[in-house]
């Protein structure tokens, strides 16, 4: 099955980004039109691919029509399709929100955003370990630009940290890829899944070193303890639109963990089966706890958004770390809703809080008139983030707790999630009181008469509506996600779909 639709989520943003660089000379309007149009197209493509993947049959796209273990493949299974759809929804929201003011602060915002989307979509689709590295680099390079967009002293300093940690991460990624290639002689994920169980006894140690190095890289990407410290300065100082789109980057790390450690080093990997299982759960619990402490200690809405993102990553990784069908489905559901919640929180914080360099807040002045509106939005997002009913965060946490119920980790998981839930609530309540109920200081900047930025506010509201829809449709969605988790835990279909192409490609060549 060789459908050309699979290349669209990579091709559309790549072409658009190049066009946008050229369109720079012709003003912002044409760039915005192009960017919004392309993002809408990507969303449409993602919806189409989600429907396509719905029948449970992984689709394979051979780049250059080279047969599978030799050429690079793109693979669309349910997990990839779900993540693509999430990216599409998030992207259209961020693009629309940036139209107000944020894309004006520097040049090439939309081009960088499209390159970023290309990298993210590619990372979700690729079926090759080295190609995953390349798409990681694409999304990182774009994110360096986006992170520094608009510039400013604190942003530059945080940017140096961010780029350094990611360069080190890329180096470790290459070491891991090299080690794995040296032992197995392949980098195609499906082929690796076949070769890893057959590894010679003398090479086991080398291969497990490679697998754990790879895990380190993904842990850096997903902000897992002890590699979480780069996130708050980076996301906290960058522009709100960039931070909102970065909310999905941590999920790229989580996605890679799920992909590699179910497919390649999963239950069927012989001596290396479940190699990360002893590491991931404790690290995830500590991540959740440290994120929560960060929320309690944060001094503003931006810090709050950053640390609550770390806490939510901890929750997602706890669910992933259990590696059962129920827990993976719950992790997916929670990851989807927490991405949107985090992104909305970053956008809202951007509307309310001073820029990192003390520039004029967009809506702080408008807050006096529209305080109720913003406070209401914050209230709903806080409900979603700490996991109270009726929004999707509650259902996500409930599913994770339920997934941990039969297992041996029930005490650790339940106490971690429930206690941090309470502490998160306290943190969010306190931040809300500080922001919305305390009287403004007399030396606060006098209210300028700028209107409430309509588009970003509407986007935040729309994301909350999506969260509500996620919780209303939780039943049918969970059926899909359970099917996704089942597909992940039976890698045979994936392997057959990829390696079976050897023959079909030969046919097409005739």
């Amino acid at each position: 099955m060789n459908s050309h639709w699979l290349i669209l989520p990579v091709a559309i943003p790549a072409m658009t980004a190049a066009l946008l660089v050229l369109a720079q000379a012709y003003g912002l309007t044409i760039q915005r039109t192009l960017s919004v149009g392309a993002t809408a197209l990507q969303l449409a493509a993602a919806i189409g691919l989600y429907m396509l993947a719905g029948d449970g049959e992984p689709r394979v796209y051979l780049l250059g029509n080279w047969p599978a273990p030799f050429g690079i493949v793109l693979v669309l299974d349910r997990l990839a399709a779900t993540m693509l759809l999430l990216t599409g929804v998030l992207a259209i929201g961020v693009v629309l929100a940036s139209l107000g003011d944020w894309d004006r602060k520097g040049r090439h915002f939309h081009a960088l955003l499209q390159f970023q989307l290309m990298g993210i979509n590619g990372a979700f689709l690729t079926g090759d370990l080295f190609n995953l590295f390349v798409f990681f680099e694409v999304l990182l390079i774009a994110s360096y630009g986006l992170m520094l967009h608009g510039s400013g002293q604190r942003r530059l300093r945080a940017g140096f940290h961010y780029i350094s940690i990611n360069l080190i991460g890329s180096t470790v990624f290459l070491f891991a890829v090299g080690t794995i290639y040296a032992v197995t002689g392949t980098l195609n994920m499906a082929d690796l899944a076949v070769k890893v169980p057959q590894v010679a006894a003398g090479n086991e140690a080398l291969l497990s070193a490679g697998a754990l190095l790879l895990f380190t890289v993904f842990a850096v990407k997903s902000a897992m303890v002890p590699f979480h410290w780069w996130l708050p300065p980076t996301y906290g100082t960058t522009s709100p639109a960039a931070a909102a789109v970065f909310a999905i980057m941590t999920k790229v790390g989580a996605y890679s963990i799920v992909r590699v450690y179910t497919l390649i080093f999963g239950a069927e990997a012989g001596p290396l089966a479940g190699i990360v299982t002893p590491w991931i759960l404790p690290a995830a619990i500590v991540t959740l706890v440290l994120g929560t402490i960060g929320v309690l200690a944060s001094r503003g809405l931006r810090d709050l958004a950053c640390y609550s993102l770390i806490a939510s990553m901890g929750t997602v990784l706890i669910a992933i770390g259990l590696f059962t069908a129920e827990s993976l489905a719950a992790a997916l559901y929670y990851a989807v809703q927490s991405t949107l919640t985090s992104a909305a929180l970053f956008l809202l914080a951007g509307l309310l809080v001073k820029d990192a360099d003390g520039r004029l807040p967009l809506a702080a002045a408008a807050l006096r008139g529209n305080g109720t509106l913003f406070a209401g939005l914050y209230f709903l997002l806080a409900i979603a983030m700490v996991g109270m009913p009726p929004l999707a965060g509650f259902i996500g946490k409930l599913l994770i707790l339920d997934a941990a119920r039969p297992g041996p980790h029930i005490v650790a998981v339940w106490s971690a999630i429930l206690i941090t839930g309470l502490l998160l609530t306290i943190g969010f309540v306190r931040a809300g009181i500080d922001t919305f109920w305390r009287k403004p200081k007399s030396d606060a900047p006098s209210a300028d008469k700028r209107a409430t930025p309509i588009l970003p506010t509407a986007v935040v509201a729309a994301m909350i509506a999506v969260l509500a829809a996620l919780s209303l449709l939780a039943g049918p969605l969970m059926e899909d996600m359970t099917a996704t988790a089942d597909q992940l835990l039976q890698p045979q279909t994936y392997i057959r779909a990829v390696l079976g192409t050897r023959h079909s490609a030969a046919h097409m060549g005739e």
């Binding site: 680099e137 002293q153 530059l156 300093r157 940017g159 940290h161 780029i163 360069l167």
Partner: protein, 129 residues
């Protein structure tokens, strides 16, 4: 000790030395040594990747009728990609740290703007904070 053995020894110690130098330099608190450290790490990983196809002497990486055997071409392609990416990244981080130095007047990698360079324009001629 034959030729491959001594080459393996040389490569392995070379990679180890470059990694050690890279890690040592990255732990500094000035941007310049950190960038040098990153560069050393990327050199080390490039050589490492190159050696992952196993070391072979006098063998071509492309198909040839007269060849007695082949050396694995894939790691060479990987190294090429890695070199291009790290080159671009190094250029970016050099520009970034220069810009940060010019704007904040310090090349310290600490996150807060150092108190003695926090004048509003952020320009300061002296280097050492």
């Amino acid at each position: 000790m034959n030729m491959t053995m001594s080459m393996e020894m040389l490569l392995a110690t070379g990679i180890g030395a470059m990694t050690a130098v890279g890690v040592y330099l990255i732990l500094h608190r000035r941007t310049f040594p950190v960038i040098m450290g990153l560069t050393f790490l990327s050199y080390a990983v490039n050589v490492f990747l190159f050696a992952m196809g196993r070391l072979a002497i006098d063998l071509p990486p492309i198909v040839s009728k007269t060849a007695a055997g082949y050396t694995d071409p894939l790691p060479q392609a990987l190294v090429l990609t890695a070199i291009v990416i790290t080159f671009g990244m190094t250029a970016l981080i050099v520009v970034l740290s220069l810009r940060a130095y010019l704007e904040t007047g310090s090349d310290d990698v600490g996150l807060g703007v150092p108190p003695d360079s926090a004048d509003p324009d952020g320009r300061r001629d002296g280097a050492a904070p």
